[in-house]
Structures are given as structure tokens and as C-alpha cells.
Symmetry: C2
């Protein structure tokens, strides 16, 4: 079974030393969010993750959720319900939600490490409370007063959970094709009819009610995505006054058998004239969908991060333990029958790759979390707008890169174990299977790439990109004389400059041929992730050297940064070459000529 220890030290380093979180939170008006309080929250949250959730990770995989066809009910694996009750009792569900609706009112950035540790401890379990957040956000920003009144408090307090019902059998990415219909009832509610698939936490035994946020079409709605509306459809009916009624006409039809996250219920949901209420304007459901989706995307990025870290921790422990062969330069532990495999450069390559992607990714993602707070609470409107643009720009990068790196890091971890990594009882293979969903759900990597290049760069004229470039320039200027980061400034500047050039090059090409956007998107996304990480590594070293952290911690940051610049950042070369080759090599082969 794989182990997990919350990396509190690095989480605190990122939050407080790199991001100067305590001062930032005070500046943004989170007066309660002092270092002392946040440390206490993180420590308590870590105890819950390590002691309650992590031990349930393996049983969740082994048992999975079970489905009773006769009743349409889903039962979660042994221990999941008790853990959820503890989670609710501890007030954890509303950590970063508004005090008005029963939350703790802490900054979003403080929720990021909590999310990371839950995902690392037990990704499948974490999916149950996860989706409530998207539902809460949708109702908060688009719901009517009575809907906020009735639904938000139970969601925030965790008495109910939420879902996002978007996908149908014939459409996932292309929601414009969806068929679920909403017919008006006489009382102002709607009768929702249709089948949704891949509904995470669509049914379960953790709470008495489940609040489905459902995309559907009103009668005579325009075709495509401009005819989609958003509805709130509770599992158990809820009237406008909050009174609870009878069971609604929504039922789980089956659950999927999946490669991983067996403990997470992935449901087919059948709506058969279920009573629902319109959320927001008719035909404007995609706005609410994006509100849910953007929150979920950053959260899925953190899933990739958490799984990477757990995999890395186990691979590291194994590599220190497992004795096999001598170092090529001679025995390092002559008193042992062989050297621990961590002496071998190729094992170090895999471990350092994980460490570099994880710690860099942590800084990158927590900063995105902080920018959400800045975008809501900064005193200056210009600053709020810039932060908002940056969050929009970084969301696809955080989602896609941290999940791709999650696949990569879990791969390396299995590889460090050798054949033992393939054996279920050692637990790392589960992490690899669990990680595999993260590049798929809430928009595949390809969709994130199109969001980044097509929407955030080209449609929105790269507002967030400019903010990011400004941050890099500012850092390079501020640290021109800082010997701690002397080796990093030039390559960071050069890669950022190439980033700009590539962006302009694609923009020009896309003006002549829109297929150039799709052709460049994936490589542009990954290129962006690696530049961003170069920035975060340089900044992390600067912060580390200026901090009161112990020398061995500083050495870890310094040497990992060197490794990153020497061995990972050069991946940009291949991505740049692919981008520069344009769309021709992708588009000339006819669809029927792909067969061998």
C-alpha cells in the first residue's frame, strides 16, 4: 500500500515564503487569515488527510462503488461515509466559502493546499465533496435569491453535495449537441428529461440530498450552444421555501467500470420529467457551465499535483531502501550487500523530474489560487482585472500541465519500483491509474490547449499572457544582481522571449488559416507550462535563499532548480520546433489514408 505524508513544509514555503501569503491576505481584507491560523488549519487538515483519508485509498480502489439496479442507489466503499461525516463535522467543506452561507470565509489560496492533500490522500473520495464547489459557484453567481437561500447553506455545510450534469452519450466536448429537454411546468418550475453520463457523484450514500446542476434545452431553444439553459434539479425535491418534498424523477441508471478512481461514482443519470428550476437566463446556460468548469479545472490540476506527490514520496522511499547494484563510480555503502538505488543517476533523473514538476507546479498553482483572491478582493480595479486575466490564462495551463505531469510522475514512480511497481499491493500502480482520468475529465488536454491559444491568447488578445510576461520581466529586472539566481535569469529571459515570438508567429499564421491554432495548441500549451515553471523555479530559489529555511531545504531548491533548467526546460526546444513546423504535416494526409 502506498503511503502519504502531507508536504506541509513545502506548502507553507510556497504560501508564505514564495507568495508572501500572510501579507497578501491581510491586504486583501482576510483579517482572520493570519499565519498562525492558517498553519493550524493546514496542520489539522493534514491530520485528517493522513489519518482518515489516506488509509481508505486502497480499499476504495479494491471495493469500488457498488450499484443496486433495483433501487438505483450507489453505495460508497467501506469507510467513505464515516470519513465524509468527520469532514463535515470538522467544518472542512466550507473552508473557503462565504461566511454568509455557513463557510469559514478563508481565502481561495488557503483552500489549494487543503485540496492538494485530499487528492493525494484519496482522489476518489475527494471527488464527492469536489463537485459541490462548482455547483455552489454556479448558484452563487447565477442563481436567484431564493435558490441561494435554499441550496447554498446545505451545500457549503456539506449536508448535501452537488454535481455538474453536462455530458450526454453523444456529446462531451461539444455541448451544443445536447438533447436533454426542459418543459415548463405550471408552477414556474421545469420538467427535465434526458440522459446524462459520466456524472461524478451522481448518486451516493454520503448525504440525504444531491443537487444536480443540469444543462438542458427549453422548448424552441436555438440550436447549438446558444440554446442551452442551466437548471438546478435536486435528487429529493426542494420547494422555494426550502421545504423538502418527495423523491424527484431522477435516478442513477448504472455506474461505469473504469481504469481507476474506483471509489468515485461515475454515474449514468436518467432524468424523467424531474422537477428543476432555471438558474440564470434562458439559453445562457453556458455561462453558468463555465463558472462551474473553471473552478473544477483548477481543482483537477491539483489532483494531478497531489497524485504526483504521493507517487514521488513512495518512489523516493523505495529508492532509498531498495539495494541493487553498485554505483558506477564504486560502492557508496560498502557495508551493505548493494547500494540503494538512489545512488544511480537514472533513478535520480526520475526522482528529480518528479520533484521539479511537483514543487514548481505547486508554486504555479497556488499562485493561481491567490490570484482568484486578488481578482475578487484587491482594492484597485486595474489590479483585479489583471489578476482575473491571469487566472483565466493560467487555468488551462494549470489544469493540463499538472495533470500531464501527474501521468508522467506516476509513470516515473512505477518505473523506480521496477517490476514491483506493477504489483497492486505496492500501491503506486493505483496512483498511475487514478492519474489517468485527470487529463480527460473537465476538458482533455487538447481542449485546454484550444482554450489557452484560441480563447485566452487570440480571442482575448492575450491579456493574461501580458501579465505573465510582465511578472517574468519584473522578476528578471529585480534579480539582475541576485547571485542566488544568477544562472537562471538568462535562460528564463530567452525562453520567455521565444514564447512571445512563437505567440506572434502563430497569431499571424492563424489569421490566414484557422487550422494553425489547433495544430500549434498542444505544443504551445506545454511550452507555456515549461516557461511558467522556469519562472516559478527561479522565484522559488530567490525566495528560499532569502528565507529562514534550513540549509538542506535551500540546497534542495537550488539543486532541483539547476536540474530543471538543465534537463526539463530543454523540452521547450522540441515543442518550439513542432510549433514552427505549422499545420501542413498534420493536415495533408486524407482521413482514409491513416490505415497501415
Amino acid at each position: 500500500m502506498s503511503q502519504y505524508k502531507v508536504p506541509l513544509r513545502d506548502m507553507q514555503f510556497v504560501l508564505f515564503d514564495v507568495l508572501d501569503g500572510e501579507a497578501e491576505f491581510q491586504r486583501l481584507g482576510f483579517t482572520d487569515a493570519t499565519r498562525d491560523l492558517l498553519d493550524a488549519v493546514l496542520e489539522e487538515s493534514a491530520r485528517f488527510a493522513e489519518n482518515v483519508l489516506a488509509p481508505l485509498n486502497e480499499v476504495g480502489d479494491r471495493e469500488g462503488c457498488t450499484f443496486d439496479k433495483a433501487t438505483g442507489k450507489v453505495t460508497t466503499p467501506a469507510g467513505f461515509k464515516q470519513a465524509y461525516e468527520q469532514y463535515v463535522d470538522g467544518g472542512w467543506t466550507g473552508l473557503v466559502s462565504s461566511v454568509e452561507f455557513g463557510g469559514q470565509g478563508l481565502p481561495q489560496a488557503a483552500g489549494f493546499p487543503q485540496k492538494e492533500m485530499i487528492d493525494a490522500a484519496n482522489l476518489a473520495w475527494g471527488n464527492f465533496p469536489l463537485l459541490s464547489h462548482g455547483a455552489t459557484e454556479a448558484l452563487l453567481h447565477h442563481g436567484e435569491d431564493w435558490q441561494r437561500e435554499v441550496f447554498l447553506k446545505p451545500l457549503v455545510e456539506g449536508r448535501w453535495t452537488g454535481t455538474m450534469c453536462l455530458t450526454e452519450p453523444h456529446c462531451g466536448t461539444d455541448l451544443g449537441l445536447l438533447k436533454t429537454r426542459a418543459e415548463p411546468n405550471e408552477d414556474g418550475s421545469y420538467a427535465i428529461t434526458g440522459t446524462k453520463i459520466f456524472i461524478t457523484a451522481g448518486d451516493h450514500d454520503l448525504t440525504d440530498n444531491i443537487i444536480h446542476l443540469v444543462l438542458a434545452r427549453l422548448p424552441e431553444a436555438p440550436a447549438g450552444s446558444k440554446g442551452i439553459s442551466l437548471f438546478v434539479v435536486p435528487k429529493v425535491r426542494v420547494a422555494r421555501d426550502g421545504s423538502i418534498g418527495e423523491a424527484n424523477a431522477v435516478r442513477c441508471g448504472s455506474i461505469e467500470h473504469k481504469m481507476g478512481i474506483h471509489g468515485s461514482a461515475t454515474c449514468v443519470m436518467n432524468f424523467d420529467g424531474a422537477q428543476g428550476y432555471l438558474v440564470g437566463q434562458p439559453h445562457k446556460g453556458m455561462v453558468g457551465m463555465f463558472t462551474m468548469m473553471n473552478a473544477a479545472r483548477l481543482a483537477v490540476g491539483l489532483q494531478g499535483l497531489g497524485l504526483s506527490d504521493r507517487a514521488f514520496q513512495n518512489a523516493l522511499a523505495y529508492s532509498r531502501d531498495r539495494l541493487q547494484m553498485r554505483a558506477l563510480s564504486g560502492p557508496k555503502f560498502p557495508d551493505k550487500p548493494a547500494d540503494p538505488i538512489i545512488v544511480h543517476p537514472d533513478v535520480r533523473r526520475m526522482l528529480l523530474t518528479c520533484k521539479a514538476l511537483i514543487e514548481g507546479g505547486r508554486a504555479m498553482s497556488y499562485h493561481a489560487g491567490l490570484q482568484i483572491d486578488v481578482s475578487h478582493n484587491a482594492p484597485d480595479e486595474n489590479e483585479r482585472e489583471q489578476a482575473d486575466a491571469l487566472v483565466g490564462f493560467m487555468t488551462p495551463i494549470v489544469k493540463a500541465c499538472l495533470t500531464e505531469w501527474g501521468v508522467e510522475c506516476t509513470y516515473h514512480a512505477v518505473q523506480c519500483y521496477g517490476g514491483h511497481g506493477y504489483i497492486a499491493e505496492n500501491g503506486v500502480e493505483q496512483l498511475a491509474r487514478d492519474a489517468r482520468i485527470t487529463t480527460l475529465y473537465e476538458g482533455t488536454t487538447g481542449i485546454q490547449a484550444l482554450d489557452l491559444l484560441g480563447r485566452k491568447i487570440l480571442q482575448l488578445q492575450g491579456a493574461g499572457f501580458k501579465v505573465m510576461l510582465g511578472m517574468i520581466e519584473q522578476f528578471c529586472a529585480d534579480n539582475a544582481g541576485n547571485t542566488a539566481v544568477a544562472g537562471f535569469i538568462a535562460p528564463l529571459r530567452a525562453t520567455a522571449a521565444q514564447w512571445q515570438q512563437l505567440t506572434m508567429q502563430i497569431g499571424k499564421r492563424a489569421a490566414a488559416n484557422p487550422e494553425e491554432i489547433g495544430a500549434a495548441a498542444y505544443d504551445y500549451l506545454m511550452y507555456s507550462g515549461y516557461v511558467a515553471l522556469a519562472y516559478w523555479w527561479a522565484r522559488s530559489v530567490a525566495a528560499s535563499e532569502a528565507s529562514a529555511q534550513p540549509d538542506s531545504f535551500k540546497a534542495g531548491k537550488r539543486e532541483t532548480a539547476k536540474f530543471y533548467f538543465a534537463r526539463i526546460l530543454p523540452r521547450t526546444l522540441g515543442h518550439a520546433a513542432a510549433i514552427e513546423s505549422g499545420s501542413d504535416p498534420l493536415m495533408t494526409l486524407e482521413a482514409e489514408q491513416f490505415d497501415t
Copy 2:
């Protein structure tokens, strides 16, 4: 469930158009191996793979092997035994084995497509006959006359199967640590005692006997790998005259629960004074081990290739079927509700990556197979030696690259399916799980990399490397005026030249610091694979254009080659940069400073 159709056309193209197999086989004395005969063999083999093995792939995964603790017996999934009987009855087990021992005497190269199709159809099933090949080779080259007499025919005819018993709980890569002992009996046999793990096909219900090739230590053997001997230990005792005795003292203790290849029995084998016979010289067991291992390594490379192809075929079919979004340049199928996703550049990028790695990898690996035949049968000794050096050089590249690409291609296939790729019933996730073992067993990718750089390049002074470089130079010279490959010659030359420079650079560094070998090995291996594939793609296009293949096939080769040079070959840039950065970025961090 995933589908599989044997890519006969491309297999035949590689064997006959690219490698000129028919003329080569005749030159090497395989007079029966005419094109007509080989076509018939491939077609018949394809029918077996498609109709018998492929449909059992899913049930093998779902049921897995079962183990009865009371009897120590392993039962294979439903249908496996019947399929094995058909395989034996068809004479398939001895296709490329010597006629003297009941084989068909066809060239090794003719066995490669057969192996590929079995692996693609049902990797787990294929592991049962697979290991017989290594056992046969070991007995053929190192066994005594009576051992060849008694064991080979039943192995070749498939009435018995073989195993390789190397790994023990505390040692896999580092066999020098192994503890299994062999005590001499009075009759000249040995009593073998110890525990072996990860024994593929260690027990099963397909045959009456199983022939274990076991590494063990004689009394007072020198420590380390120089004190290891090889023994043949049948499950049911076999006397020197071939008479069958009673059950031997070897028993399966349990089978592993694994990420994939559930239908393949991975056994703990307990030897409790089991009767065995020494194979080859005392303390020289590693020689026999490498004979088995090298055969198995190329075979595992083909497993990666087969899984890649099956995954690709399914992703391609899905991408032509699945309607989602419109092409960025406007609807391609305006009469349908959306365009098939194969119109999207990013889906094409994933499909073309698979096609390029699969078809290039097929040419590369079949050529290695042909070189085995050349090394055994060429009339000229110098040619035999060169071919042998080339096989040795290419073995780690074929093993490691085709399996790494197997992980990559199955990844892309799942990604093309989106969320549907994660669902068990669609079958591609099984291919991803199955592929994951191939970079681990028979030596991890890191071990292949050390074999390539440490042994094949540095210890053996790069004899095989020089042959490969010579082939590239020859091809470039011969095709200097060939317009069909005009765009490929310059980049191929440039990459090969850089390959040489990097090799010399590493050699120099390694002379001063042996850790440089381990630090460069992985990136050097992958660099080598990408250069080799560039060569095979250029040569494939030259062969295709000169062939009688239809235009659409030629277009497929041409455009995929363009894609390869534009989009995949640039991966060498990142690998080169990593190599050039040397060992420092890997070696300076202390083992205890890796924690976050």
C-alpha cells in the same frame, strides 16, 4: 471491447518491400521461405490472431488467472487452454525453430510479424508460449546433448512450456545477490532450493509439464554474478532417457495481482529441493541467462509494437466515427450534426504520432529480426559478425523504445477517446494497463539504456553503432538524387552526425567519471531510437515509392514521414541538451535532501 485487425499489408511491405526479405531469405539458405509460403503463413497466422486470440483479450483481463492455494495450481482464463491447443495443433509454436527439433525452420524475421500479431491480439495469452523460446535457446546453445534431446522437442512442439526463473524478492536487476542454492545429488543432478518471484507462466493448465530454467548458486560458489549457475528444473521430473517421473519439488506459492496482463500468470515459485540439471558450465549461468534474455528483449519490444498498433486502430476508428465540434476552418461534413474528430489537428497529431512510431518501429524491429538470420546464416564471416554486432546494439533500442512508445501510443489512444477511453468496456484502457509492464520486465528502460551505452557502446567499442552509422551513410549516399526522399536526407545526416558527436562526448566524460554513463544513458537511448526511426522512415518512403503499392499507401508513408521529421524527430533536441548538461545536475543533491 477493442478490435484488432492484423496490419498484413504493412507487415508485408516491411518484410518484402523495405527489407527485400524474399531475396534475403533465399540468399541465407531458407529455400522454403518463398514469398508465397510466407504470405500464406502470415495470412493463416492472422486468422488465428484475429479470430481466436483477439476475442479472448477482454475475458483474460476480466477473469485473470486464478490460483488454488491448496493444490498450488494456476488456472488460465476461459478459452485460453482451447486457444493454446489450436496453436499447438497448427504447428505455430515451432515456426522459426530448427527442423531438427520439430520446428518449421523458417527465418527468425518471419517470426517477428507472427509475434507482433499475437501480442496485439492478446498479450497475456502470448506470454505462455513466449517464454518457451528463451528456454529453448538456452538449452540449444548451452545444454548437454541429452538435455537438447529430451527437452527441446516437447518445447518446440508446444507440448511443454518454459520459464526463466531469475528474480528473487531482494534482487531483480542485480542477480549477483541471488540466494537460491543448488546442492549436488549423488546421481549427478542437483537439489534446487529457493524462492523465485515474477515468474511468467510459472504454473498454468495449458500443458502437462513446465520446464524451468533456474539461476542458482552451487556450494562454495564465488559471491556475486560470477557464482551463478543455470539449471533446468522440470515441473514433472524427467530422467536423462526422457522418461517422465513424479512431480518435482517445485510449486507455485501465489500469483500476483497486477495493473494489467491479468491473463498472464505471474508466479511466486518455491523450489524445495527440486531435482534439476546443470546447464552449461558451473558459475557461468549468466551467459545462459543473457541468451534467454536477449531473445526475450526483442520479443518484449514487439509487445510494445503490437499494443501500440491495436490501440491506434481503435483510436483511428473512433476518431472517424465520433462527431464533435466543427473544423476550425469550417464544417467538413455539413450534412452531419458535427464533424468527425479526425478533422481536428490535435487528434491528427495524436494519431500521426502513433502511426509514425508504429510503422517506423515495425521496420526497425523486423530488420533486427532479419539481422539475427544474417548473423547465423550469411555466407561471409565478416557479414555475420557485423550483423551480430548490430543485433546486440539494436536490442536495447528495440526493447526500450518500442515499449516506451507503447506506453505513449496507448496514452494517445485513450486521449482520442476522451472520457470514453477511461471506461473499461471500451477496451483501450486495458491496452494502456497491459503496455505498462513492457517498460519494466526483461530489464527496465533504465537497464536497457545502460546496456546500450555502457556495454554496447563503451565496452564493445560501438561495433554495432558503426554498422548502423554505415547503413545511414550508405542510404544517404545512394539516395542523394532520389527526389522521393529529398527532404529527409539532410536532417537524417545532421542527426546522425550529432549522434556521433554526443557519443564521443559521453565517452570522453565517462573516462573521467563513470557516473556520466548513467547520467546520459536514458537520453542517449531515446536519442538513438529517434535517429534510427528517422533512418527507417526515409528508407520506408524510398521503398514505398519504388514499390507497386497503391498511391494512397504511398501517400500514407510520405506524409507520415514528413510528420515524423517535422514533429517527432525534434524530440532529439531536448535529449541532446540533457546529455550535454552532464551528470552534475543529477548527482549533487544529497539523498536526504530530496524530500519536500
